[in-house]
Amino acid sequence: MVPLNAYLAVGAIMFSIGMFGVLNKKSGIIVLLSIELMLNAVNINLIAFSRFGFYGNITGQIFTIFTITVAAAETAVGLAILIAIFRNKGTISITDLNIMKR
């Protein structure tokens, strides 16, 4: 039997990798992928707690299905935004998108 700590460790590692990608990668696509990674790390946590938690029940798994759905929608919207940006500026490099400076 795999203990709870192992699930949590995998979740934490995945989350950190995702966060690193979000904060460090230049390409907008990779950043979106990294966000997916972070969401799935959370999903692992939810499922692990629904199975091994003090009050383990089905809610965590239901919640995960919701998250996957929302994540799919979010990716679709994010890709659409990236395409729009690419059409406008000819690049999707995150470092070039600095209009917040003004």
């Binding site: 979000v22 904060l23 460090n24 995150i94 470092t95 998108l97 917040m100």
Partner: protein, 613 residues
């Protein structure tokens, strides 16, 4: 009538408000607003005077609560005593005359309505000061007359000399006012009331220590010194002659400068309770009388001679009050108001005609200006103490009071000052009106609205003295409540007549007989007098210069120390801003990183807190 005394200052106040609002549109019609309001005030004041004259008339006092602080209640109100009623009459009458006169004198001035606005403000404040039943209220109006005086001295503000004279008057009188304020505050602290009646009662019952009485009385007297131009704060009054001449007549001769004398007279029971304070008042007054008269002997500016004469006569009044001659002091205040206002108005008439104030450039004006000459002669005779005119009676009474009080030195000083008074007045008279003209102006008599007030005042200068024979002394002292009447030996009267004639004769010998005007630089004693004993220069070196230097030090401190601190805080904020703006680089990832670092730090510290705490 007495219960309506508040109407007297109300009319000038209404006139002031109207002129502030509509003065610009009214132009020279502003004079009528001022004159009508003053006429109303004068009628009410006259009614009050007559009602108070009756033998069974009582003092009237009306108080309203104003503020309650702890268990102390401050009141405002008004009161009518014989002294008040007399002052109301004098102030409204002289003010009315000046209002009428100014219509001719100020004719054609661009700021004609402004002049009347200020005059109304002054008259309102002065009348309110006179009817105040407590020291606090009196102090408020005391300051207000000072402000009005400042405005009027600086009326020709485009002249630098007028500007500096206005500032000087304000600052020098402020020194005295500070003393007055401290005196009032000390009295309130000790007695617990500002009201004259309450203060006198406490003093009479011996609730206040004698030393304390002396202290407060002298502090109040310092206020009077400032306002009445007594030595050593007299320097502002001659400079105040930069104002228009009617103003000099009203404020700097007849009314405001007499406020100091009035204040001492009003608080007379306080002074009477302290021998030291009385002695100080008498000495300062006596010294000022002879000191200012000696300066007046040699001045060449007609208004300055009159100004020094005013200072000297105010000194006389103080001398009388300090010698327990309450009646004499108030009597002289009353008569002096008329003849000094008269003299200033005639001086204004002369200046109006020849457009100079230097008496060496006048001469022979008597031919064209017959009325002015006649009324000036009456005024000069009255102030010199010519028998039968107003000044004679009051001056005689002063000399008697001083003699009776036993101040022998002061008595002789006053007598010498009387000789000087007669001398400088007739020096003026001979140099201005007789002899050959030393000017080339086209002289003509002044218009009727200037001569009529002068004629009315000259009649008063002749007859005002005779009230002495109608129980004036008994009436003004409330049947002997405030002070006793004084009886002196007859020879004093003859001596004062001799003094008057001596001065006149000397002036005739020196200036009237051959009407020569000495030229060349003054030498010796003459130079000392001509330069006013170098008092102005002394003050300038001893007081003004160090203060200016101190001011520069403060300016330096402000610029480099205070300003430096401000600059430092500016630099600090700027530096923080620069760092902040560098952080805002528009990179979402950088923002995200900072957010996460913040979150991690927060979580770590919370966890650490949990674990360690």
């Amino acid at each position: 009538m007495l219960e309506n005394a508040w109407l007297v200052p109300l009319f000038p106040l209404i006139s002031f408000v109207l002129l502030v609002a509509f003065g610009r549109q009214l132009k020279e019609g502003a004079a009528y607003v001022g004159i009508v309001s003053l006429l109303s005030s004068f009628i009410v004041a006259l009614g009050i005077l007559f009602e108070r004259l009756g033998h069974d008339a009582e003092n009237y006092i009306q108080n309203f609560n104003w503020l309650t602080i702890g268990d102390k209640t401050l009141t405002v109100g008004f009161e009518i005593t014989p002294l008040n009623a007399l002052m109301l009459f004098v102030v409204t009458l002289v003010s009315l005359m000046v209002h009428i006169y100014s219509k001719g004198y100020m004719h054609g001035d661009e700021r004609f309505p402004v002049f009347y606005t200020y005059l109304s403000l002054f008259t309102f404040s002065m009348l309110s000061l006179v009817i105040s039943p407590n020291l606090l209220q009196a102090f408020i109006f005391w300051e207000l007359v000072g402000a009005a005086s400042f405005l009027l001295i600086g009326f020709y503000y485009f002249k630098p000399s007028a500007r500096s004279a206005a500032k000087k008057a304000f600052i020098v009188t402020r020194i005295g006012d500070l003393g007055l304020l401290i005196g009032i505050s000390l009295l309130f602290w000790q007695v617990g009331t500002f009201e004259y009646a309450g203060v006198f009662e406490a003093v009479e019952q011996g609730l206040v220590e004698p030393g304390f009485i002396t202290l407060t009385a002298i502090l109040i007297f310092i206020g009077a010194i400032g306002k009445s131009g007594q030595f050593p704060l007299h320097t502002w009054l001659p400079d105040a002659m930069e104002g228009p001449t009617p103003v000099s007549a009203l404020i700097h001769a007849a009314t405001m400068v007499a406020a100091g004398v009035y204040l001492v007279a009003r608080t007379f029971p306080l002074f009477e309770a302290s021998e030291t304070a009385m002695y100080v008042v008498a000495t300062v007054g006596g010294f000022t009388a002879i000191f200012a008269a000696s300066i007046g002997l040699v001045q060449n500016d007609i208004k300055r001679v009159l100004a020094y004469s005013t200072v000297s006569q105010l000194g006389y009044m103080m001398l009388a009050l300090g010698s327990a001659g309450f009646i004499a002091g108030v009597f002289h205040l009353f008569t002096h108001a008329f003849f000094k206002a008269l003299l200033f108005l005639t001086a204004g008439s002369v200046i109006h005609a020849v457009h100079t104030q230097n008496i060496k450039e006048m001469g022979g004006l008597g031919k064209e200006m017959k009325i002015t000459r006649a009324v000036f002669l009456i005024g000069a005779l009255a102030i010199s103490g010519f028998p039968g005119l107003a000044g004679f009676f009051s001056k005689d009474l002063i000399l008697m009071s001083v003699y009776e009080s036993g101040h022998v030195t002061l008595f002789w000083m006053a007598l010498i000052a009387a000789v000087m008074t007669a001398f400088y007045m007739f020096r003026l008279y001979f140099l201005v009106f007789s002899g050959k003209p030393r000017h080339n102006a086209n002289v003509h008599e002044s218009p009727k609205n200037m001569t009529i007030p002068m004629i009315i005042l000259s009649l008063l200068a002749i007859f005002a003295g005779y009230i002495e024979f109608f129980g004036f002394g008994e009436w003004i002292t409330n049947n002997g409540v405030i002070a006793e009447e004084v009886e002196g030996p007859k020879w004093i009267m003859y001596l004062s007549i001799i003094a008057a004639f001596g001065g006149i004769a000397l002036a005739w010998l020196m200036y009237g007989r051959d009407n020569k005007v000495k030229t060349g630089e003054p030498r010796g004693l003459h130079k000392l007098l001509f330069n006013k004993y170098y008092i102005d220069e002394l003050y300038s070196t001893v007081v003004v210069r160090p203060y200016t230097i101190f001011g520069y030090v403060l300016k330096f401190f402000d610029k480099y120390v205070i300003g430096g601190l401000v600059q430092l805080s500016v630099w600090f904020s700027k530096a923080i801003g620069k760092i902040g703006s560098r952080l805002q680089n528009g990179q979402v990832q950088a923002y995200g990183l900072i957010t996460i670092i913040g979150l991690v730090l927060l979580l770590v510290s919370l966890t650490a807190g949990r674990l360690l705490g």
